[in-house]
Structure formats: structure tokens, C-alpha cells
């Protein structure tokens, strides 16, 4: 890689490393510079304006670079010149950065991020420090072939004089992202007169590639923010094959479906946000519970989606894949965003992104409240995210904190036959105390410190330490009036209002090291990565039945448990460049899992237990090791084409309370393989097509009657993903994906005396899994009208569409297909934007989720014991108007 700075038009003392370009590169604020008089940055004009020189030219010195952080060449590649207008304040800090010449968001971002971290000796006029504005061009150059580009190279302009090197830290990004790091130029790279302009050339290097399969995707800010978002987590909708619903209200985690997996509340997707692992093991409401309600959409900078299991860094819950959410704020300064719309929905966002910091430093807080789109859906929540990053030598250190709380009422599920018969409205709740009492509360805090080291020759490392506290309480009735009390004899029918409480305290650490290149001979280059991750979770959980009609009296105790879980993961990964066109990675990952379970109601059996024969309670412990290989190969037969093949074995930890004492394989094994091709026919287009096969040793499916996940046996998924994204013109981004899967049960649970004919049979399609998921996103931002003296009026339009095919339900039923279309538009003038978001534009009446199970919602008639279709209503057409002000 290469980085070079050149300047021209030198005015000022000789041998300065940074130069003043009188004609185009520097404007001194409020005073004359280079013989001209300027009044303000806003009036800065190209310096070929001709003005009469004052009688005495003041002595002007340009800003001098004291600390230069290199730009990070983006993994997605790209080339071209980005020209930035950088305001250097009188204290030497960078305040504003404007893009004068853009090469797309990714390159603009890389350049802007870098220059924001630079520090200068300020410009002076007659010895007095003054603010100045300079142009800084960055030339991005495509990477050379791997074996040649691995070691950064430096190009020095022939006319470069020697110069004293500034303090030069290495660049870095987020630890896991591992884009090519660009070492800083030596002093000789910052050269003096003779060149045409200040110029920084950034050439991509090759490090550990994040895209190990054709099912790995990186979605950038412009794409994930193209469609409107009702809540932060909806930025994930742009992920190929991912469907998100929030059927249980604003305080319960979403339901996620990804390439053939009904991941429930996150059991099959490993989520990571800003370096924090989000899934909570052994959560009472669902294994791997991942509530992303805290996400603030405006702070989501990038999504990295790894579908399948083939990267040794993927740990627990990476069954369908992993999603890594990177946070950052592009628009620096203070931003206020106020929204109001349908159903008395109100949202207030405030973001503070210090102008002198990089985009990964910010503080944001969002409050939202709504009456909901139907009965019993009122809710409110607040989320605060703080992140600050600083450079310390070769390390980039980052501290982050996430604070979240929400409470919401829930309408719960409705029987389809009740709606069809007019007994309850589509968006209503059953007119019963036990239904109206449904609600949830969530509170979560995550704090951590992370470090990211970028060395030479692709050497890099990272570490993280974090603490988490999560509190969850739910009152929910799925089945109406079917439950009997286990604790109290002859007590039944008080309504199946289940109360769940779960409290988790977690602490964890992670570290990895990626070695410099090892090159024993030509045409071979190897790296070794060693990694470690560990977490400890202490969980308290309880489940009861409440009688909503009598001040929520407890009428049964079902769960009362304390759990301790420990997961220590370790991996090694060889990253081998065999030729310029072949990259092979061979890895191995192991996870040691240990549990202690204190199931305080574990052997409770009132009706058959003589009162004095034993004491209720059941304690056990478990230890097991899950391990498996991870391998992938890339072949680039010709320039725009990369062929991928990958295989990996992963695991999902169990719901600890279901384990038997001494169980030796306390996990579900997943085997995942992918083959595919990735094409870049032009710089603006990326297309990938992949086929995959995933097999699970012991899958689970939601059993609403039991209110938990039940084992259904071994399963397999066979499918494909077609994804394309394009940025054909500046300000235009479009993406579309189609995911198809045939998910079937290959080893149903064996027949027993009690269940001689299980409802699952070999070869059937897995319930709840949509065979086809389609997603399309489009975003267009264009200048519309140049207003005299008031800037340019800019228009924005965004579209997001999701479609799900019909999907099987248990007991022979089928859920309806659905199509939902969201659109948004906005007008921006200067620092003010007015926007309008319309969700479900077509006002489609759809069920966000459907189920089939037995319920009895009429307390006055004999209820059916046949499974019936139930659903959670999806939101009708919803309008949200937004006013955004940047201060």
C-alpha cells in the first residue's frame, strides 16, 4: 500500500511539511492570507479569484501536521480522488470536514474519518493562531495483487525534500472489521513544493478478508438507511434473507428468520453490536435471546452479515449466521430529530458527534412513545448509546456504553376464527382481563472497553472487556384458559397469563492476534490468527401463572431457577495466499461449556408426592466441549469474479434448565457448507449467488401450547441466496435479494407410548420457515434546486419492500404470504430536513407472525382442542413526519 502527500503553491517558511496553497488550498479565516483578504470559511472560494493585494501582506503560516492518522482502505475496494475541505481551528483541531469531490460514501468516509483524527499546529497570521481551511485530496488506489500488496509501499515524489517525520500512529478500524490498514507515511512522504496539491494516496492492502463466502455481505450506511425505519433494528431488514417481526410489542425482542431458520428471538443468529455480544444464553423467554430494541438507527454505520458458519470467530448461536452491527455517526455536530405521526407516535433523538472526533465517537439518546396501532399496544422506551474512540500509538482504544429501558403493553395473539367470526377485531385484544394484562418490561446495560492494534504487514490484534446486565419481565397469555395449577390442587381456569422474569449478569472478554506475513518462498504467504473469547453468565429466572382478574394473584409456580453458564471459546486460523488467485483458510474452533443449574422446582409434583418424602429442588452440573473445523477457499479466475467455497461446524448452546446431570454434549451441532460466486462487473455493481446446505443435529421448534421450544429432531436446509447491490450514480443506491430454502425434518422424534404418532414426520417442511424471502431497497438523494444565498435544496426518496412466501405451520396449516412496502421522502435545506415516512404504504392487512396451536379464549363454552391458526397483527399504514435540525 502506498501513501503519499504532495503539496504545491508553497507560501511560508521553507521546509514546512504542510504547505499553504494560495491559489486553491488554504483560506485563513477572517483575515488576509497569501495576499488576499477573506472574511469567513463559508465564503471561501477557489483561490483563482482575483483581488487586489493589500499594501502589506501579513506573515502567514499554514497549519502544520503534527499527528496524521492514515485512511483505512475500505474492504469493498474502490478508487479515485476524494477532496476534502478541512477547517483547522486556531487550537489545531479539525472542526469541519466537507467533501468537495466525492467518490462514494465508502471512500469519502475513509478519508473523512482519517482527517478528523489529524492534529495540526494552527495556521498563524502575524504570529497569531487563526482558523484556516485547507484542501486535502486523498487518492485511493485499488489493491495490487495480494502477494505484492501485502507489505505497504511508499512512494516519494522525486522533488520531495527531506522532512522531519511527524508522530505517526497507525490507523485502525473496528477490531473485527479488519480492513486493510494503511501505515502512515514516513517523513519523506510528505513533500514540499513542486506538486500540484496536497495529496494523500491510499492504496488498499490485503489482510484477512472478511468475506469468506459468497454468503457474506457488507451493507454500508447509504444502503441500510435507504428505506425508512420505524425502529433501530429495522436497519437489519436490508440483510439478505432476514425477516424481522416484533409480534410481542416494543419491550420484547424481535423474531428473526434467516435463510431457513426460525431463529425465534435470536437462537440461531449471533448478534454483535459495537463489539458487544447481544445474545443472552439460557434466557427464559428464548435461548440466545437478542433484544436489539436499544439500537438507534441513526448510529448504525455498517452491517456485516456472515450467513452460515465458516469463520472461526463465529461462536455460540452462529447457526444461521452472524450479524455484526458497527456504530458510527457520519454527520458531525449536534443533531436533533423529532418525529410525530400515526397512533400518537412520538420520537425524539439527540445526537452529539464531536466534530473533532472520528465517526465512531458519539453520544446518542432516543426516546419513543406510542399508543400503538390497536388496542393494548401503548409503549415507551429510551435508549442511550455512548462511544468514544481515541488513538494511542498503534492502538485504537474505544469505550462504549449502551443503556436501554422499555415498557409496552401487548395485544397478544388472536385466533383467526375469532376474527373471522367477528368476535374480536383484527387489531384488538380479547376483552378479557387476562388478555388486557399482557405487557413487558426490558432493561439492559452494556459497558465495555475495546482495543484494536494495526501493525505492519497486516499484523493486527484486538481485545475487548465487557459487562452486561439485563432485566426482563413479561406477562403474556398465549392459550387463553387451558392451564391448571400444579401448586394448588383443584385450581384451574384463571387465565393462562404467564409471568416470566429473567435477570442476567454477564461479563466477558475476547482477544485475538493475527500474525504478520510468513513468506518462506515465492507465491506463498501465510498468516496465523489465534483467538479467545470467554463469558460468564449468572441467571435468575422464574415463571408463574397470574390471575389478572384478582390483582394479578399468583396461582401457580412453574419455574424458579438459578443458572451459571461459562463459555470459553478458542480458535486458530491459518490464512494462506497460495497464489495470487487462491486464498485458503483452515481453522479450528472449540468451545468449552460448563453449567450449574439450581432448578428449585425441578422435581415438584404435587398430586403424587406425599408431603414429607423429599424436599423440592433439583440441582445438576454439566460440562462439554463443542469443536469443529472452519475452512474456506477463494479462487479468482479472472478479475471481476471470485469463486467461494466454505465449510464449517458450529454449535448452539442449550437452554441450561433442560440439561440432565452429567450430560456430555450440551449443545446442538451445526454443519454448514456454502458454494458461490461473487461478481463485480463494474465498480458500481456487486452481485453474489450462493448455494448452501446446513444440517443440525437436534433442532427445536416453538411449541406455543407449552410456551417453549421443543425438540423436533435433526433438520437440514438446502437453499440459495441471490443478492445484488448497485450504486449506479452518485446519490443512488439499490439492493435486492432473493433467498430460497427447502427446510425439512430428516429425523423426527421417535414414537413413544405417550406419543405413538408424533405430529412431525420425516421429510416434512419445518414449521414457520418461509421458503422464499425477498427484499428490495432503494435510496436516491439528489440536489433539486440551488437557492440564491440559501444553499441547495436536496431531495431524498427511500423505498424498502419485504415479501415472504407462504410458510408451513404445525399440524398441517399454512400461513399466508405477505408483502410490505415502506417508503420515505425528505427535503433538506442547509441544516434542516423535513421528512415523511410511510410504513406499509399499501395498508396491507397482514400477520407479522402466525402460529398453529390449541387455545381456549371463550371461558364460557367448551373449547376446541384442535390446533387453530393464531396471529399477531402487523402494523397498518403508519405515517411519521420528521424534522431534523443539525446544529
Amino acid at each position: 500500500m502506498l501513501l503519499m502527500t504532495r503539496t504545491t503553491g508553497w507560501v511560508g517558511p521553507p521546509r514546512r511539511r504542510w504547505q499553504i496553497q494560495c491559489t486553491r488550498g488554504l483560506w485563513i479565516l477572517g483575515a488576509g492570507a497569501c495576499g488576499w483578504q477573506w472574511s469567513a470559511v463559508a465564503q471561501a472560494q477557489p483561490a483563482n479569484n482575483t483581488r487586489e493585494a493589500p499594501s502589506r501582506a501579513p506573515e502567514v503560516r499554514a497549519p502544520e501536521v503534527l499527528r496524521q492518522v492514515p485512511a483505512i482502505y475500505p474492504e469493498a475496494g474502490g478508487a479515485g480522488r476524494v477532496v476534502l475541505a478541512v477547517t483547522v481551528e486556531a487550537n489545531g483541531s479539525v472542526s469541519t470536514v466537507e467533501t468537495l469531490v466525492s467518490q462514494g460514501e465508502l471512500l469519502d468516509k475513509a478519508a473523512t474519518d482519517a482527517v478528523r483524527q489529524w492534529q495540526f499546529a494552527p495556521a498563524t497570521r502575524d504570529g497569531v493562531a487563526v482558523a484556516a481551511k485547507i484542501e486535502v485530496p486523498f487518492d485511493f488506489v485499488e489493491p495490487a495483487p495480494p502477494l505484492q500488496a501485502e507489505k505497504p509501499s511508499v512512494s516519494v515524489a522525486p522533488e520531495a525534500p527531506a522532512a522531519t517525520p511527524p508522530s505517526i500512529p497507525a490507523a485502525s478500524g473496528d477490531p473485527a472489521s479488519a480492513p486493510a490498514s494503511i501505515p502512515l507515511p514516513s517523513a519523506a512522504e510528505i513533500v514540499g513544493a513542486g506538486a500540484l496539491s496536497n495529496e494523500v494516496i491510499v492504496q488498499g492492502g490485503v489482510t484477512r478478508s472478511e468475506k469468506r463466502s459468497a454468503s457474506d455481505f457488507t451493507l454500508r450506511r447509504d444502503l441500510i438507511h435507504a428505506a425508512p425505519h420505524h425502529e433501530g433494528v429495522e436497519v437489519l431488514r436490508a440483510a439478505p434473507g432476514l425477516y424481522i417481526a416484533r409480534p410481542e410489542g416494543a419491550a420484547v425482542a424481535h423474531r428473526y428468520m434467516l435463510r431457513g431458520f426460525d431463529s425465534e428471538h435470536g437462537q440461531d443468529i449471533e448478534f454483535r453490536v459495537a463489539g458487544f455480544p447481544i445474545n443472552i444464553p439460557s434466557h427464559l423467554h428464548g435461548q440466545g435471546y437478542a433484544d436489539l430494541g436499544f439500537l438507534i438507527a441513526e448510529t448504525v454505520d455498517e452491517l456485516r452479515i456472515t450467513e452460515g458458519v465458516h469463520d472461526p470467530r463465529q461462536g455460540d448461536f452462529a447457526v444461521a449466521g452472524s450479524i455484526d452491527v458497527r456504530l458510527g455517526v457520519a454527520d458531525r455536530g449536534i443533531t436533533s430529530r423529532t418525529s410525530y405521526g400515526s397512533f400518537d407516535t412520538f420520537r425524539q433523538l439527540a445526537v452529539w458527534a464531536p466534530k473533532e472526533s472520528a465517526r465512531d465517537s458519539f453520544a446518542a439518546v432516543a426516546y419513543q412513545s406510542t399508543d400503538g396501532f390497536g388496542q393494548n399496544r401503548r409503549g415507551a422506551g429510551v435508549s442511550a448509546i455512548l462511544q468514544h474512540a481515541l488513538q494511542a500509538g498503534d492502538w485504537r482504544l474505544r469505550v462504549a456504553g449502551i443503556f436501554y429501558g422499555a415498557r409496552a403493553e401487548m395485544a397478544g395473539i388472536l385466533r383467526q376464527d375469532d376474527v373471522q367470526a367477528g368476535r374480536v377485531g383484527y387489531y384488538d385484544v380479547y376483552p378479557l382481563a387476562t388478555a388486557r394484562a399482557q405487557n413487558a418490561l426490558a432493561a439492559r446495560v452494556l459497558v465495555g472497553a475495546f482495543g484494536d492494534y494495526r501493525g505492519m504487514a497486516s499484523e493486527n490484534a484486538e481485545f475487548g472487556l465487557w459487562l452486561g446486565y439485563d432485566r426482563f419481565r413479561l406477562q403474556e397469555n398465549f392459550t387463553g384458559f387451558l392451564q391448571r395449577s400444579r401448586t394448588l390442587a383443584n385450581v384451574a381456569g384463571r387465565g393462562d397469563l404467564i409471568e416470566q422474569r429473567n435477570r442476567t449478569f454477564s461479563l466477558g472478554a475476547s482477544a485475538r492476534y493475527y500474525s504478520p506475513a510468513y513468506e518462506p518462498f515465492d507465491l506463498f504467504e501465510g498468516h496465523l490468527e489465534l483467538g479467545l473469547s470467554a463469558r460468564l453468565d449468572e441467571v435468575e429466572q422464574a415463571q408463574n401463572l397470574l390471575d389478572a382478574a384478582v390483582r394479578s394473584q399468583t396461582w401457580d409456580e412453574q419455574v424458579d431457577a438459578a443458572l451459571l453458564g461459562l463459555d470459553v471459546g478458542f480458535w486458530g486460523d491459518l490464512d494462506l495466499h497460495l497464489t495470487e488467485a487462491v486464498q485458503l483458510r483452515l481453522g479450528l474452533r472449540g468451545d468449552a461449556l460448563a453449567y450449574e443449574i439450581d432448578d428449585r422446582l425441578g422435581n415438584f409434583a404435587t398430586l403424587i408426592r406425599p408431603q414429607d418424602t423429599y424436599i423440592v429442588g433439583f440441582r445438576r452440573s454439566v460440562f462439554g466441549l463443542a469443536w469443529g473445523p472452519r475452512a474456506s477457499i477463494d479462487v479468482r479466475p479472472w478479475e471481476p469474479v471470485t469463486l467461494h467455497a466454505s465449510y464449517g461446524e458450529g454449535y448452539r448452546s442449550p437452554q441450561a434448565r433442560t440439561l440432565e446431570d452429567g450430560e456430555r454434549t450440551p449443545y446442538t451441532k451445526v454443519r454448514s457448507s456454502d458454494v458461490g460466486v461473487r461478481l463485480h462487473p463494474t465498480k458500481a455493481i456487486e452481485v453474489s449467488l450462493s448455494g448452501y446446505h446446513t444440517q443440525l443435529s437436534d433442532d427445536v421448534a416453538f411449541d406455543a401450547g407449552e410456551g417453549r421450544l421443543e425438540r423436533v429432531g435433526a433438520t437440514r436446509r438446502l437453499g440459495g441466496v441471490l443478492h445484488g447491490q448497485s450504486r449506479p450514480w452518485p446519490g443512488v443506491v439499490a439492493a435486492a435479494s432473493v433467498t430460497y430454502v427447502d427446510a425439512e425434518l430428516i429425523e423426527p422424534p421417535p414414537a413413544t407410548n405417550e406419543e405413538p404418532d408424533p405430529p412431525f414426520r420425516r421429510g416434512q417442511n419445518l414449521p414457520y420457515v418461509p421458503p422464499v424471502v425477498v427484499r428490495a431497497d432503494l435510496g436516491v438523494t439528489r440536489p433539486l434546486w440551488a437557492l440564491d444565498g440559501a444553499g441547495t435544496l436536496t431531495g431524498r426518496v427511500g423505498v424498502g419492500a419485504s415479501a415472504l412466501s407462504s410458510r408451513p405451520l404445525p399440524f398441517g396449516d399454512l400461513a399466508d404470504p405477505l408483502v410490505v412496502l415502506d417508503v420515505s421522502g425528505g427535503l433538506r435545506l442547509g441544516s434542516i430536513e423535513l421528512g415523511l415516512d410511510v410504513f406499509n404504504l399499501l395498508d396491507t392487512r397482514y400477520a407479522s407472525l402466525e402460529y398453529s396451536f390449541v387455545s381456549a379464549w371463550d371461558p364460557d363454552s367448551p373449547g376446541s382442542r384442535l390446533p387453530a391458526r393464531h396471529f399477531n397483527a402487523g402494523s397498518p399504514r403508519t405515517l411519521l413526519a420528521t424534522l431534523e435540525i443539525e446544529l
Partner: protein, 258 residues
Amino acid sequence: MNVRSLCRGPVTLLVPAWISACLDTGLDQVQVPLNLAGTALDAPFSVRDDWQVELEQAQLAFGPLRLCAGQRASGLCDTARAEWLDSAVVDLVSGTPMPVGELSGSSGVVRSSMYDLGIVSLLTRSEPVLLTAAEALGGQSLRLVGRASQSDVSLLFSVAMRIEQGEDVERGAPVIRLASTPDQVHDLGQPGSSLTVRFDPRPLLSNVDFTGLMQSTACQPTCPAPIEFVEGSQPYRAVRNDIQAGPRPVFEWRVDDP
């Protein structure tokens, strides 16, 4: 080649399974015609102590009926395989099947069943609920009127009986649960299936002590008015016991060409 086999072929890559026909949900939803029938009695029948009984009227309130996949219909039948939620009055002395509706459910084998006799117990109520069939019988589950004879002695009798969950039985549970018997086993997935539940009234009176009943009355050798079985008496308990725990109705499955 059926639709499913097409769906599993390469066609799916071109025409993904948006079409629900390509989805194998494991089970199919079925509707099975349900008939109720008694037993035609051409002649008096013998019961305890060689009494001959001739029934003039025999009606039973029946329903709801649930068919279960398990070997024993009990708590395991929380999810029924098929059910008929209505109720109807069965003429126990008519052998002609009477259509009463359809069993709804999903394909698969049924092995056991459970039912009520026109009066159901709800989890949510302490008092049982009368369905239409029991209301038609004046709030009773069973009505019998007949004549019992032995040598030159005869008597008219009548039975009116509520069969409902007692205090000692689980609230919300059906009053009669039948463990698996060969006649109950049937695969509901067979097209053209229909079910006739046939009752025989004779076992209901087989343990009635008509001799004792006769001796307790003052109207020998012939009683002109019907003697009603009084709750708590031996005849009453004998009928109640036989209807709850005695011989079962017969499940007559029939499969016609669809």
C-alpha cells in the same frame, strides 16, 4: 409423479415454493363425517336374574367427542387429532346411523377417544354447562323408559340421569375417556373415511337388580306406573356405573372410494 416430487426437483430453483402446494406440512387437514347410532332391538333382552327387558324409549345425549393420537385419552390429549364439538341425542334403540356433522382434524392415526354426554365441565366454571342435547332431554344425559319382566311379574321403569364431572374428578376434563381399542384405531388420512359411533343400550341395564327393585315397591305383581330409578339406589348406581365404566360404544370406521 405427484406435485410434491416436482417440488423437490430442480423446478424449485426456477419456481420457488411460493406456491403452497410445494410445502409439505407433515399433516393434512381432514373432515370426517360422523354418524351416531343405537342398536335395533327386535326382542326383549335378558339382564341380571333372568329379567327380560323391553325398552320403549332410550335416548342418550352425546358429545362433544374428541379423538386422540395417544394410546390413552387423558391429559395427553391436550391436542386432539380430531373433534366434534357439538352434541346430539342418540336414539339407542334405532340401528340407523344418524348424521350429526363432521369431525374436524388433521391426518394421522387415532387410537383413543374421550367424550361427554351433553354436559361439559369447563376449567373456568365450577358448575357444568348443558349443551343442546342435554337440554333436549330436560337437562339429563340419559333417558330410558321400559318394561322389565320375570315370569308373571313385570314393572315399568324409567331412568333420567345426569352424567357430569364429579367433585373428585378434574375440572375441565371429559367425563368418559376410552383407552385404545382395535375398533378406535384408524388413519384419518384415508380419503373417504367416515365414522359411526354405535351404542348398545343393553349393557346399561345388565347389572340392575330388578328383583330388589320389585321387592322395594308395593305394587306386586304388576306396577301400573313406571318406577323411577332414584339417585343413590342400586339400579341408578348400576346404570351410572355401566355408562361410565362398562362396555363401550363401538367405533365403526368406513372407508368409501372418494
